[in-house]
Amino acid sequence: MTDEQREGTPVEPTPVEETAPESKPEVASGGSAGVAAESSATTPDGEEKRGLYMTPRGILTTVAIVLMLILIALLIYLLLMDRSGPGTRVEGDAIAGIKTEVVIRGPGTGKLPRFDGPMGAAWSPDGNQVYVADSTNNRICVFRKDGRFITEFGTFGIAKPLEGAKQTWDPGELNYPTDVAVDTQGRVYVADFYNDSISVFTANGEFLRRFPDPYKPTGKGSSGNDGKGIAVTALDVAEGKVYATDSYQIVVFDLNGKLLQQFGRPGASLGDLDRPNGVVADADARVVVSDSNNNRVVAFSPLGRPVWMAGKRLPSVPQTPEDTDFVLPRGATIMDDGDVLIADPLAQRLVRLSSEGEVVSRYGERGVLPSQLNFPNDVDWYGGRILIADRENDRIQIARLVGK
């Protein structure tokens, strides 16, 4: 390979008159196209072998080299395309209304450098930090808003063992954390799904308490294992209250874990809930719930009465995501203008509702590129930027929405 080729100077595959083997080589100058270049080499036994570079064989070799370089560049691109490191700032146009600015794939260090199916994400109160429920890895990871890793806390612990198994839970341990929220004091609330309770941590990850008691029924009844504790999949903290989902109800606590209210019942009628996987309180203390298995979003008054409902319900069978508002609504957040943003993992999109439950717009499409989604499970909004728990892409995206 010539120096010119090493530097990437183009060599045009122009046919060149073949020169006799004994002729003196004419060195290409400046790599200009169409100039013949001769190469020579000396074998170990001293015999010198010569050949013109731009013989048909040389042309073939040149083409092969160029092709190889292109393929290598393509290979490098493919390798890097969806494997950007933790906290990678990305450029590019919006895709289907989502313009991602930062992609976070995990701490990038330690035993578990990558996320595994993150299901929840939340901003800190000042919008400077990002908290991620790294569900399968049983931990919470904390990042700066530019994606730089700060810390992580939580490890696997069983609070509700089957008979014959050991209770291994120690304070601060988690078992499939499905959501995370942060209060105005920076305390971190974690939906500890298989431990049937909410664990509370300081901003630095020191364990403070858990509630409700996973070994007792909650209030007038709850659906953790044995009917004790809550099967919490999602939570929100607002105005001094913690709103949490249970299998068929919403349970409201104060910040210390005192039970304040619970509403909902199993079923499909208005006011009933079936495996809600998203909850958020708006500025009027209305509680917006992703009634996931009923394919709808319902807003409840502060007293727990249904106010509005978005989404069609069976028996009108949804044929395509275009035929229905929601396929499987999950994580929810309130935007600055009061609109509600819902993550719908089975529709592979985000749905924006007005504060009265009308569909305003839809964002997102399926894919693995930045700004695309693969089973988005949760969203959180702060000052024009959204966190997207892009679950099956094993990443968090920090993005802006384009258009309304």
Partner: protein
């Protein structure tokens, strides 16, 4: 040939392999979009199954499991043409079971894998049941798989010949069994006593030779062919003896106070496990199910106490033993997927009174 050429060819080969999912649609030279294809109707190319004259529509199915019509592109919920993680079926995950677990992880309720691991700390290899992907030398040993009652080795369609979800379930709800009237009551949208679901069970699971109409003993015997014939296993009642509408069942939950009576299996748990019913073989599900107690009998040892008590809140006054998850027949902490372990199970039928002394 220069080494550069060889390197280029190798690189190109690597690229083609890595990009295989994206090119999957064009795998075959014959795979071309038909002329005048309405934009993007999946059934245009992925047509009807053998014997079907119209796409299967299951109006009771939510989400991706059914409701397909000739113009649907609902397939995109789980399949994708471009950027699929798995070339197999263009799924978003590497394996079929991983794809299913995206939703069936417990947060959506229903049948799941992984609950027992989450509550015991055991690995999948340590947990019994119909384990996904577990095989030996590319085969699975099926207890009672031989018609004579012995075990038999089978090859299933999961990784390395092991089981995967689609060996038993059809996620599209095509060619599935009818809802099982004998099924045990579980939590669902339907809070009435009757819960009708076919669990998306194939009417002809992998390795079956004939189709079955409903999920019951006959369905289990699709693989466990020797079950109804005794041999190494307890005889069970298959068709036509398995009358799910007329089984012997408890008349109430307190087995120390109530008697048995004939009635409909399913809707409650009173038919699981039955009291003495001399001379009549049970169906498979009366002994093999989620481990639990069957009654408010404090003397009866519970096999999995934390999985057996009320699902509903005590305020509901519901004492049907409705579990939070359906683990059966996916996984179990009991031997052989039995409801109870030890003599307690046998004594439900083989009691020690003269009338109940079957043996």
């Amino acid at each position: 040939m220069s080494r550069y050429l060889r390197l280029a060819i190798v690189t190109a080969a690597v690229l083609l392999v890595s990009a295989a999912p994206a090119f999957a649609y064009q795998e075959s030279k014959d795979s071309t979009l038909p002329a005048n294809t309405p934009a993007y109707a999946c059934p245009t190319c992925h047509g009807l199954d053998d014997g079907e004259t119209s796409p299967t529509v299951a109006p009771t199915r939510k989400g991706p499991h059914g409701g397909y019509t000739s113009g649907t592109n609902k397939c995109e919920t789980c399949h994708t043409l471009h950027g699929a993680a798995s070339a197999r079926m263009l799924l978003p995950q590497q394996t079929i079971s991983d794809t299913c677990n995206t939703c069936h992880d417990g947060t959506g309720g229903g049948g799941v894998y992984g609950v027992i691991a989450r509550r015991t700390g055991k690995t999948a290899e340590q947990i019994g049941g119909h384990a996904i992907g577990k095989s030996t030398d590319g085969k699975v040993t099926v207890p009672g798989g031989d018609p004579s009652g012995g075990s038999l080795e089978r090859v299933y369609s999961g990784e390395s010949g092991g089981l995967t979800c689609t060996d038993c379930h059809d996620p599209h709800d095509a060619k599935t069994v009818a809802p099982f009237v004998g099924d045990r009551k579980r939590y669902s949208n339907d809070t009435s006593a009757s819960v009708a679901t076919n669990r998306l069970l194939r009417d002809k699971p992998t390795s079956a030779e004939t189709t079955v109409a409903v999920y019951g003993s006959d369905w289990c015997e699709s693989c466990h062919k020797g079950a109804s014939r005794g041999g190494m296993t307890h005889p069970v009642a298959g068709s036509p003896d398995a009358d799910y509408m007329n089984v012997t069942k408890l008349a109430g939950y307190d087995t120390t106070q109530v008697a048995s009576s004939p009635g409909r299996l399913g809707g409650s748990n009173l038919g699981y496990v039955v009291p003495s019913d001399s001379g009549k073989a049970p169906i498979c599900q009366q002994c093999h199910e989620d481990g639990r107690a069957i009654a408010n009998d404090s003397d009866k040892p519970l096999s999995i106490s934390s999985e057996t008590e009320d699902y509903y809140a005590p305020a509901d006054g519901n004492e049907d033993g409705n579990p939070r998850f359906q683990n059966f027949p996916h996984e179990t902490v009991n031997d052989k997927l039995l409801i109870e372990t030890g003599d307690s199970l046998c004594l439900n039928c083989h009691d020690q009174t003269p009338a109940g002394a079957v043996h």
